[in-house]
């Protein structure tokens, strides 16, 4: 079985290639596999009908209950015949019908045949679902075709969505069902059906899925719409095979679940209502396919009801009816297809007199129609008899047998009526008015119709064979109280026979009454417009989507942030407030310097809010930074303070330089007072929250900090400065991450500032700095060269004082930076502060001497310096494991040199050197970006430019 299924898919995948070479022959190739399936099924039939079963299984995900388990039993056999048999015929038929996209269609149809076979063979609920959804997808693709018209697209989508929705509901049902049953294996569930618990829920869910697939009211709308698909597709998917999936599921589960409460009411109610209403609707149709489609819906309703009734007779009747329906409905669709293919229309108002022109087709079609109407000795009759029997003597709890039977008869009568209408509409009428001279179809074209119609006759007349199969399925039920019913064409004069006759007569009458008003089909009362319902639902979802999205996704960053912070306040904030934890009894301050610095910090911060100028804001923020650094000093963190001071200065420089060209003032926000109030409230609340949080957590400290370990073991790192030991040794990985951030940020700055220069070069800023130079500006120019590149700067920007001072200070600053680097292990400092100090030295060179001078000072590309730093730091980290140690491991090395004595240093120094280099490189990179933003020197002066050129 697995091989067969795989072969279907494999061949289907290959067909588009073959189609180009083989032309129409490809359909023959495609039909081989379904035929093989039929053959295999027939060979296996003997064992299956004796009550045995073929099983195969492939493990997939057992923990999830997923196993590709296949099982061939009587019901599967029946379905397999239908699926593969009709499939083969349809494929052969396509050879004559399909004009374009043959490869695609053949592949899809074959794939569909494969998945449908899989569906009926599946012995695992989830695998069944897998195939179920795959058929849905195939149906979507087949209906949509190339999707050139809106009609096709929407029909395809409707089919997809409705059946998939049903499928999802069903999936949930399966999950629940399996949960209750403790297994997802169908055969096991059938043997030992679960009861109680959530099983009723599962039943409802599963049935909803089945109804959707089988186009039961009120979910049937997709099936008539799907008639835009090519006729063979309609015949196969939407009459014979796919829509049967729901029915199959009902038939499959009925033996196990029919006794569960909601099962019978649902199945009977929905099934019978569908049968009657859809048949009624069919009488209104003027399109042959549409007529057949509603007929299909109606028949499916019948099948659902009868297979779901859960009695032995019902099962027999259902099996027979299933076969009958597959045969005649496929035949009728194919016939309608031929009519359309040959005449170019399928509107019964335009078709007339075809019966005489195409007698063979007419004959075959008439036979199939008769089966549909339930005339003896055809299979349809066999089924109809059994159905009536099943209901008449039904075991439905509550005495509604007669009511249901009456409905059933009405349904059959309507069926007869629309069957007559179809035959009459398509083939009847005087031959006089040819609608575009129909060509006589080829033999091969009609043959499938004939075979299918003939099958109805053969299986009906040779009812014994049919009965064998049906009995094999019905084995699952106990014999009814009236003894076991047997399928037969003649049971004697029973009430059922009378009912059957009654339906025929009623139907005939109905047709006779209505035949004069065929053209005015609209006189038949309309049914509730489910199609409109679907459309409204979809439009509703769309509107809802737009409405929700419009109100959430407003596109405004301030709003987003407000929402975010409001969440912070509302969720953890509320939790904290609710918990009302102890805030402890914190001191007012640890050192009197703290309130002082706090005043500085808070005042300056508040002033930032009021600032209207960029520079003011930056300066005030700088003051906040210095204040914070002061706190660091007071709290015993000199290294931190050092870094903070340096970073603050660097931030000031970078921000000021980058923003040099932007206008001095902020744009005044046009915020609504309400919004501003909200922001103030939210921001204030966050502030209060953080304060309380901090007090609460710090009061709640339960265990001593782990840090005492650092102090205890710092000697092992060879360092005195614990913080530095943490940074370069204990937690060097943090530092590695941190410098990575720094590096990538610098890379980003360069990328942001420079890449657009070709676009925005002409705008030259809004005039800042170009308004003119103060007359004294160039007076300051030095006469000698103090900084090698400074000559290239415009005179107006130079200052003799600064240049000389820079010349004098530059080496000293570098020495200081190296001191910080090397002394980091003992004093506050380290690679980072050292690098920043060196960076400041270069900032100074840049400020005073310009880009050219910086270029002279550092002839290397900035990126290479920074990259080399990262390379060194990460490489130092990766070196030890190569030597068999642990990454980022450090050792204290002692050298004994002559004269000097013992020199002790930790290898983590190299890591620090990497950090140092990186920071210097990053500074240079930032400066190069700033330089670009200013455009104050010809390109090529700074490393970054050369770097860029070198890469081309």
């Amino acid at each position: 079985m697995l091989v067969l299924l795989a072969a279907h898919l494999g061949v289907a995948a290959a067909i588009p290639w073959w189609a180009r070479r083989l032309g129409r022959t490809v359909w023959m190739v495609a039909a081989v596999l379904p035929l093989a399936t039929v053959a295999w099924a027939s060979v296996s039939a003997g064992r299956v009908l004796d009550g045995g079963a073929y099983q195969e299984s492939l493990s997939w995900a057992p923990r999830l209950g997923l196993a590709v388990a296949l099982r061939l039993d009587a019901l599967s056999l029946l379905m397999l015949w239908v699926v593969a048999g009709v499939g083969a015929l349809v494929l052969l038929y396509c050879r004559y019908y399909v004009e374009r996209d043959a490869g695609r269609m053949a592949a899809l149809l074959l794939a569909f045949a494969g998945t449908m076979s899989g569906l009926v063979l599946a012995d695992n609920l989830f695998v069944l679902y897998v195939f179920w959804e795959l058929t849905t997808i195939a149906s979507f693709l087949l209906i949509a075709g190339r999707g050139e018209t809106a009609e096709q697209r929407r029909a395809a989508r409707q089919a997809l969505l409705v059946t998939a929705a049903g499928g999802l509901v069903m999936l949930l049902g399966f999950v629940v069902l399996g949960q209750e049953a403790g297994t997802y294996r169908l055969s096991t569930i059938l043997v030992d059906p679960p009861r109680g618990g959530l099983v009723p829920v599962a039943v409802v869910l599963v049935l909803v899925g089945a109804f959707a697939k089988s186009a039961q009211l009120p979910l049937h709308g997709w099936l008539p719409a799907a008639m835009v698909a090519p006729t063979p597709v309609s015949a196969y998917l939407h009459a014979a095979a796919m829509v049967k999936a729901g029915v199959y599921l009902v038939a499959r589960l009925a033996p196990a679940l029919a006794e569960v409460d909601p099962w019978r009411p649902m199945v009977l109610g929905v099934g019978l209502a569908t049968m009657v209403l859809a048949a009624w609707r069919a009488l209104r149709a003027t399109d042959l396919k549409l007529l057949l489609a509603y007929g299909t819906v109606s028949e499916l309703g019948l099948l659902t009801a009868v297979l779901g009734i859960g009695t032995r007779t019902g099962a027999l009747a259902g099996a027979a009816m299933l076969l009958a329906h597959a045969a005649f409905k496929a035949a009728l669709f194919l016939s309608a297809g031929i009519v359309e293919h040959q005449t170019g229309t399928r509107d019964i108002r335009q078709l007339t007199g075809l019966g005489r022109r195409l007698p063979v087709l007419f004959g075959a079609t008439a036979l199939a129609t008769a089966s549909m109407a339930g005339l003896p000795p055809l299979l349809g009759y066999l089924g109809k008899e059994a159905v009536l029997e099943a209901f008449w003597h039904g075991t439905v709890p509550g005495n509604i047998n007669h009511l249901t039977t009456a409905v059933l008869v009405l349904g059959f009568a309507l069926t007869v009526a629309y069957a007559a209408r179809f035959l009459h509409g398509a083939f009847g009428g005087p031959p006089g008015r040819p609608t575009g001279a129909p060509r006589r179809p080829q033999v091969g074209f009609v043959a499938p119709v004939a075979v299918l119609a003939g099958a109805g006759l053969v299986l009906g007349a040779g009812y014994a064979g049919t009965a064998t199969v049906a009995n094999a399925y019905a084995e699952g039920y106990p014999a009814g109280p009236q003894g076991s019913y047997a399928l037969s064409l003649w049971h004697g004069f029973t009430p059922v026979l009378g009912l059957s006759a009654l339906s025929l007569i009623l139907g005939g009458l109905l047709h006779a009454v209505r035949r004069h008003t065929l053209a005015a089909a609209a006189t038949v009362p309309r049914l509730p417009d489910v199609q409109g319902g679907y459309d409204r639902a979809v439009a509703g979802v769309d509107r809802l989507a737009v409405a929700v999205t419009r109100h959430t996704q407003v596109g405004s960053l301030p709003v987003y942030l407000t929402v975010l912070l409001a969440t912070v306040v509302l969720v953890p904030g509320a939790a904290l407030a609710a918990a009302a934890p102890s805030l402890g009894s914190p001191p007012l301050w640890w050192s009197p310097a703290e309130p002082l610095l706090a005043v500085v910090v808070v005042t300056a911060a508040a002033a930032v809010v009021a600032a209207r100028h960029r520079l003011t804001g930056i300066l005030l923020a700088g003051a906040v930074g210095y204040g914070v650094a002061g706190v660091f000093l007071v709290r015993g963190a000199p290294g931190l303070a050092l870094t903070q001071f340096l970073v603050e200065t660097m931030t000031l420089v970078v921000v000021v330089l980058v923003l040099r060209r932007m206008p001095a003032r902020f744009v005044h926000g046009r915020t609504l007072p309400r919004a501003r109030l909200l922001r103030v409230a939210v921001a204030g609340a966050v502030g209060v929250l953080v304060t309380c949080f901090a007090l609460a957590t710090s009061a709640a400290r339960t265990a001593p900090a782990v840090s005492s370990g650092y102090v205890r073991r710092v000697a092992e790192t060879g360092a005195h400065n614990v913080v530095n030991a943490i940074v370069v040794d204990f937690r060097a990985l943090d530092t590695l991450g941190e410098i990575s951030v720094l590096l990538v940020a610098a890379v980003g700055v360069v990328s942001l500032v420079r890449n657009h220069s070709h676009k925005g070069a002409a705008d030259g800023g809004s005039g800042e700095g170009r308004r003119g130079i103060f007359p004294t500006a160039h007076w300051d120019e030095p006469r000698q060269t103090w900084l090698p590149g400074a000559d290239e700067r415009p005179g107006g920007e130079r200052s003799v004082l600064l240049e000389v001072a820079t010349r004098l200070l530059f080496p000293s600053i570098l020495v200081l930076s190296l001191f910080l680097l090397f002394s980091g292990h003992h004093h506050p400092g380290g690679g980072f502060s050292g690098g920043l100090v060196a960076g400041q030295a270069f900032v100074l060179r840049y400020l005073v001497g310009g880009r050219a001078d910086l270029g002279v000072a550092v002839p290397l590309p900035a990126g290479a310096v920074a990259g080399g730093g990262l390379l060194l730091a990460a490489g130092i980290g990766l070196l030890p494991p190569i030597l068999g140690g642990v990454p980022l491991e450090s050792a204290v090395v002692t050298w004994h040199l002559p004269v000097v004595g013992a020199v002790k240093f930790a290898t983590s120094l190299f890591f620090d050197v990497g950090v140092y280099l990186l920071v210097v490189g990053v500074t240079l990179k930032l400066l190069s970006a700033v330089g670009v933003s200013l455009g104050d020197a010809p390109a090529g002066a700074l490393g970054a430019d050369r770097e860029e050129e070198g890469s081309r």
Partner: protein
């Protein structure tokens, strides 16, 4: 002796607060630049006193760096101001 240090610190602190006032009040950016510069000076002074008071030398690198490099920020800001308002 400690009282002496505290008096000194108080003086420096008061000076710092006054400077802060100037920083906040402006009115011009240059005023703020000056004020920020002075604020740094106050930090140096205060830290130096603390260093002497606690005999704690760890803050010395901070002082060095501040003394040597705080002026780059001021110079940058001044540059910006001159460029922007040079010939209004």
């Amino acid at each position: 002796m400690t009282a002496l240090y505290l008096v000194t610190l108080a003086g420096v602190a008061a000076a710092g607060l006054l400077t802060l006032l100037r920083l906040v009040r402006g009115p011009r950016a240059l005023d703020r630049v000056i004020a920020l510069d002075v604020l740094v000076t106050m930090v140096i002074a205060g830290t130096a006193v603390r260093t002497a008071m606690d005999k704690d030398t760890t803050a010395l690198p901070v002082l060095l760096v501040l003394a040597l490099l705080a002026f780059t920020g001021s110079v940058t800001a001044a540059h910006l101001i001159e460029k922007r308002e040079g010939m209004r």
